[in-house]
Symmetry: C3
């Protein structure tokens, strides 16, 4: 169904405070996230081992979390440290704890075998907390299986149709992308030297009527991560490989974390370096991106409803599905490896 041995985004760092635990279903399991006194975020099974009440209705006390049904208290490792009115605490009284790392404004959780969790495997993407870049952290809730969203992101042939009146009108949509296998997934990229500069870009900074464009996506199969590097550099300055000081540059990160078999958490950010800290520009860019993302969401959720009517109907491939098929095959391979390893 999905890869378990991977770092998934559990939420934006600012969703979790000291005041109130955050409840979130991830990979079909109830998870509660809270912060310890020093701010370290903690992820536990959101299900008290006593009567199965959600700990997320509970209370943060120091570094621990108290269930507000019968008062059992759990530390950050999931061990029960207090049962009101009972002296001995059996070692079986515990909830599962999940490796959780706060990095670059995101909370990364490991739902698989904890022995395999290595912090160094977490995505390094500095644009989310770099002083030269700013953006507004965003989220969409999808009523669709995560694979349908992954399909959509790995496929650019939908741009001209789904986004006909928004981002699909750009010449980018008409250019075949190059697809390379990477150790962690796929690299999908387009270089368009000497292309027409869109009006909205020239408004942001005058890079000339024509510019050298690039659009480079890094897709990571584990965690369903898509990281983009795109921009417009003044003609002949070397494009994405040259000095970028005078370019208009964007970054984008889209991450899908399965909630259930048919629903998905979608986290995204769209950093810009033109005017870091300019909340108005961040808001404007978010609005543009969200308009296009809602177009995707509408078609993907409709697609899910059609699939639900008869889940046995098979899809048929077209030439443009190359990246999408490679993506699906990588995910399936990792799920199979996982199943073999679990035997």
């Amino acid at each position: 169904m999905w890869i378990r041995n991977a770092w998934f985004v559990a939420g934006w760092a600012n969703e979790v405070t000291r005041e109130k635990p955050l409840a979130r279903v991830l990979l079909n399991e109830p998870v509660v996230i809270y912060r310890k006194a020093d701010g370290t975020p903690v992820a536990l099974e959101d299900r008290c081992c006593h009567r199965l009440a959600p700990l997320s209705i509970g209370r943060i006390e120091g570094d621990e979390l108290r269930c507000m049904y019968h008062g059992l208290k759990f530390d950050a490792s999931g061990k029960c440290t207090e049962i009101p009115g009972q002296d001995r605490i059996p070692p079986s009284m515990k909830v599962r704890s999940f490796p959780l790392v706060e990095k670059q404004k995101l909370l990364w959780i490991w739902m698989g075998d904890p022995a395999l969790a290595r912090e160094s495997d977490i995505l390094d993407w500095p644009y989310l907390d770099h002083p030269d870049w700013s953006y507004k952290p965003s989220y969409l809730h999808y009523k669709a299986n995560y694979l349908l969203i992954v399909d959509n992101l790995l496929d650019f042939s939908h741009l001209s149709f789904v986004h006909e009146h928004t981002i699909g009108s750009m010449s980018l949509a008409e250019t075949r992308a190059q697809i390379d296998r990477t150790p962690y997934g796929l690299k999908i990229w387009r270089i368009l030297d000497n292309d027409v500069t869109p009006a909205f870009v020239r408004k942001l900074r005058n890079v000339g009527e024509r510019a050298d464009r690039w659009n480079i996506y890094d897709w990571h199969a584990r965690g369903n991560i898509l990281a983009m590097d795109s921009g417009f550099a003044p003609l002949g300055t070397g494009g994405h490989q040259g000095a970028r000081e005078n370019a208009v540059q964007f970054r984008h990160l889209s991450v899908q974390t399965p909630e259930t078999a048919n629903t998905t958490h979608y986290f995204f950010g769209h950093p810009q370096a033109l005017a870091p800290g300019n909340a108005e520009l961040d808001e404007q860019l978010l609005k543009t991106v969200t308009t296009a993302f809602i177009e995707d969401k509408d078609i993907i959720e409709a697609q899910q409803r059609i699939i639900d009517l008869d889940p046995n109907v098979r899809m048929q491939a077209i030439v443009h599905d190359s990246a999408l098929f490679q993506g699906r095959r990588i995910i399936e391979g990792l799920i199979e490896d996982q199943a073999v390893a679990a035997e």
Copy 2:
């Protein structure tokens, strides 16, 4: 579950335009209906063969329909005629097309074996598009299996109870109907010579305080069609077999098309010949009919909810169920024949 080899009503002709395809689930299958340039209506499987997105979100281009996910185009036969960015189109790239005929303001679809679809089998009922008759095309969505509605229509013993305060107060409700087997279903009729003329009829046209009445229903098992011919003729002028010029006449058509196992499309019209084109009268008659139909809908949907609580409880027959039982037996027989033929 239902007869497949039959012409079902897919919609009113005026529901389908050149601007926007119509999405409708029929017999549990997603169907999209649109019009070609010359106005001919076309019904295709509402599921692109590529990624299973609904074509009904697509765009009508000439005689064809383009999927607005990746731009695949399909002709009226369901054949894919264009895959953007791909030269060769494999013959397997197609969606199912369904025989669809526009006749007398209704769209008739054939969801079964196309080899068996004969246009001449479609109901001929001229009152829906005859200049001497007018009505307002209507629709109800039922949260109930279609058989519960068929039961209701074949059964007049419910009139005095469900419609106690509306149409049930008429003497018609108290007269036992005659039931004849026809080649396509049942004929259920009542002739009441020299009966009291209801006040609302005399308001429409003064046919006298007493009149010769008739009420003739033709029920077609294939397609779940009930066609009524009813009226009030001046005494001694021959009733429904005589000259009808001075009579008050009504026609009625009720058709049920299964949507899913537990939901049904209900199309109906109630033509009058007293004042063709009088929209106010059409509206008034529709209001009366709809009031009674909502009474049926309330009890049938409540019946479905009770059945859902325990689907194993069996119904027990009463004498009045004769038409209803004959109707159910005809439908069951046709479903069995179909199963045998499919072997």
Copy 3:
């Protein structure tokens, strides 16, 4: 799943009138309750034996109930007494009737083997219709299995946490209760001689700054009934065993009747004897009780949602679960006995 051979509360007596039958699903079965001409309440299967329509949409006629689909009439024993248009009524035309007794403002129904129903087994709790006591009859609908509610009522260790800001702040919450097995279930009680009198009690009647308190619960496994006797007597007057004239006394009754496997009817009343007939005081006490009950409902419904995510996760016991475990074991035993008896 539940005990069938028991008297369950079907509703408050004032919910059922002569005008309109009451529809209620009890133990997953549709039940209709109405009153005969002399006021006697009757409970029948809410499913006409003819076409399975709900009789609760029907009409009360004298002592009988008429189905408003086809007019079949049923007497209080469930026997069909009239089929419009049909002379002979086969003996199989009947609906199930359930023993139903109106006692002390409640309607008690027996859904199991009628041969085992003995009226003398119905709870005798005079406070619901005694002139010296008054209260406002109340009801909550729970989206949870009844056992989770029973657990909650048999367990006082949740008071300090769920009801931290309401009733949990009382010293009662800190005192271990005594639990005795009774012939019908459990007796859970606490006696606190010379305890601080809460302010709200002193406002009602000045029993002194300190008082002798008692809190005695009688829980009945059959019918899921919890009856409370609690109070505050002036110091040294003998507490609950002494003269109670000068005490502040409360009674409470909470009853759970399963609706479906995952929903429950919860009836309750909280009689006071301080000012019988004082509707304002009744309303004020109800408000206080309901505030606490909503706190329970919130956590129990959340608990049910977590259980639904993975019904296989097992609960783990703590010392405080003693009453709760005894209660569950008694219920399980009675369900097993019932299964054996049914073989």
